[in-house]
Subunit: 411 residues, 2 copies
């Protein structure tokens, strides 16, 4: 089954909101084995909506629309779909009763405008809205299917999961399974070169996506059952893992380098303390992003000035004057100081120049030193990151967590 | 000028990321007076990209593409645009040199794949990439314009603002001036009620955009010159400022509550130190997001465990046993401790329950206490934030900085 998403809403074209509905539906369609070739967004304009709908159906069997189901005059998605299929609109009494009850519950009067929310193309399979006033529906005619969902993300997701997903799952015979391998610290083009011969396979397929400091490798296989698809992709997954070695840190859409480091700490029942300069608290915040971080982090320090590095962490004045705070020596003393005062099993320090000002020939903007300290000693690494202040700090956080992860996993 | 956005990337169709590029560009085009009728997203597939590009140009004068500029084989946007315009690709020596320098700086080898990032359709106006390896370009032929931008949001934004926006602005004859008034701590619907009669104006116009804890009011005026437009909006701006009072904290797209607090500290030549529990370093990181933060912040503390709150900040065991760490008493002692040990002029503490676990009837998830301490004493406030862990922490950071801002401005 080939699908397209058609999003309706002037607020999307004005940039007032991001199209998170399209993202959510796309992710779920890929999991459900429905092939998606295009997203289209148009405003609340009946002419342009009609045009986009006809175009989408010229390419796809299934068009999923979001938005344009509200009570106002410019909410016209159902009307336009009915016109496309040459079906009249009919009042659904059950929807009307539910709407009445909902409005009564929230203390709003029923207006004439609300009535149109209970109108559907004849023969439509109605999907009640558990979270709002606008029901959706599935309309099917001559081999074409329109699935009409509301725009507000909360309502859309609820309706998708409870009603559209089970319906689609039953419809599509084919299963597509995907695995997402997360790889940190190797560039996209270098990785592509290393995996070049693996891209030619048609089923399973391999694709790479690039993020700050990391690459996501997606392996997908198509088969008649979930198990068969999983089995088909296994040799390719194993070959990738063999080639990327310790650059691989976890799999799944929700994996992150901070979660990987946290999970290792928790499994070892160990703690970490950070000593941050240019990252300014982001490293601690990245760990504390995850619920349950309190098992692995009790305290953390931001020592932004040289004086704070000396007073709080015990960095020596000699180190600062001989090497400046932008040095491996300083990073090492920061990490050792943080481990000493916190009593944590591990510590990680970051000191560097995020810019945009202050760069010199000796220390250009983007120079960052990261040290990891543990029971077996302390080691530091020098990095040269490119980009703006924010990007440099993001990369520094990623690499600091990656260095900790490598130590924790004994690499 | 009629525009469309064409986003290229299988990661969008797989739902791995939301199309925030399209949102950003849409918002900026509306500010620049460019009419936008459609967003289209296709995967990294040359046939479908070609089709979508031709369709977009059948409706629009300007097509802005994002994505597909990477070094890999399936990055084909420039190639497809060149084919559409029947223009050959030429190597740009300046881009090649910049690419070489960039890769050298980050210590990555130049691969054959990288070379294609320096190829452009003949006659294209090249837009260097200040944040990554893929330059963009503007291609113009027979009254049609393609503006080709990279996909990674930080690269795209930088290129859009520095290069495409000024170019577009010069192209469109009409001047639209906008002012963005940033308002913190008042809900969107309450604000809307207070400003209700001001929404009816056609030129200048007023629109509200809602963010976490804050509302952005955009006032736009359209005129023949920049000065005329600026003059037209002034009375409306003044009326809004009069009505919102101290909820207003700054203007401009780049203003933020953290920048407002930092600027006040710097103008007073004063410093701040944070004592963070549930925000876990984000408060310090928000200040250090801005270059020059070292004038106002020397050190900061994350005290996540009760033991750390006591040992580092001197929170009394009595307070923790009588009131728990989720209390105004604890927040006050944390703030006072941080001010004492750091010697900063001001301190701000945050302690609360970001969830999702650990809530009780007495302390539901979202309960947060924030204290500000200065030479004239310490005061705390209790908040009850709704939403998930991330949202609660974002709101806590915003309100902590806002409380500091109000104190610093004597309110």
């Amino acid at each position: 089954m080939i699908a397209e998403i058609l999003s309706v809403g002037t607020e999307l074209l004005m940039g007032q909101i991001a199209n998170t509905d399209a993202q959510y539906i796309s992710k779920r369609l890929s999991e459900l084995g429905v092939t998606l070739y295009r997203h289209t967004t148009v405003g609340d304009n009946v002419g342009r909506l009609k045009e986009a709908l006809a175009e989408a159906f010229s390419r796809a069997d299934l068009v999923i629309t979001t938005g344009g189901l509200g009570p106002t005059e410019d909410d016209l998605t159902k009307e336009t779909v009915a016109e496309y299929f040459s079906l009249p609109l009919e009042m659904d009494e059950a929807s009307l009763a539910a709407l009445r009850a909902h409005l009564e519950q929230i203390g709003r009067p029923m207006t004439d405008n609300n009535l149109k929310q209970a109108l559907f193309p004849t023969g439509a399979r109605i999907m009640p809205n558990a979270c709002g006033t606008a029901p959706g529906c599935i309309v099917e005619k001559d081999g074409k299917i329109a699935a009409i969902l509301p725009g507000p993300p909360f309502e859309m997701k609820d309706m998708f999961e409870r009603q559209l997903a089970p319906w689609l799952s039953q419809r599509s015979g084919v299963h597509i399974e995907s695995r997402f391998l997360r790889i940190f610290g190797i560039g996209e083009s270098l990785l592509e070169t290393q995996l070049q011969d693996l891209f030619h396979s048609d089923n399973p397929t391999l694709a790479l996506y690039c993020g700050p400091g990391e690459v996501l490798a997606r392996v997908s296989a198509r088969a008649n059952t979930k198990e068969e698809a999983a089995q088909m992709m296994e040799p390719l997954v194993q070959e990738i893992l063999r080639r990327v070695g310790s650059f691989y840190y976890g799999s799944g859409m929700d994996a992150s380098i901070s979660k990987a480091a946290l999970d290792l700490l928790k499994s070892r029942h160990e703690t970490v303390c950070f000593a941050e300069s240019c990252t300014g608290g982001r490293l601690a915040a990245a760990l504390i992003d995850h619920s349950g971080a309190s098992d692995a982090l009790c305290e953390s320090y931001v020592t932004y000035s040289d004086e704070a590095k000396t007073r709080i962490l015990g960095v020596s004045l000699h180190t600062l004057s001989a090497h400046t705070c932008y040095s491996a020596e300083c990073a090492i003393e920061m990490a050792e100081g943080a481990r000493r005062i916190s009593g944590a099993n591990w510590s990680v320090s970051v000191t560097g120049l995020a810019g945009p000002n202050g760069g010199s020939e000796r220390t250009p903007v983007g120079t960052v030193y990261i040290a990891v300290s543990g029971a077996e000693g302390t080691s530091a690494k020098e990095f040269h990151f490119a980009g703006g202040r924010d990007h440099i700090r993001t990369l520094a956080v990623g690499h600091a967590l990656n260095m900790l992860r490598l130590k924790l996993s004994g690499q």
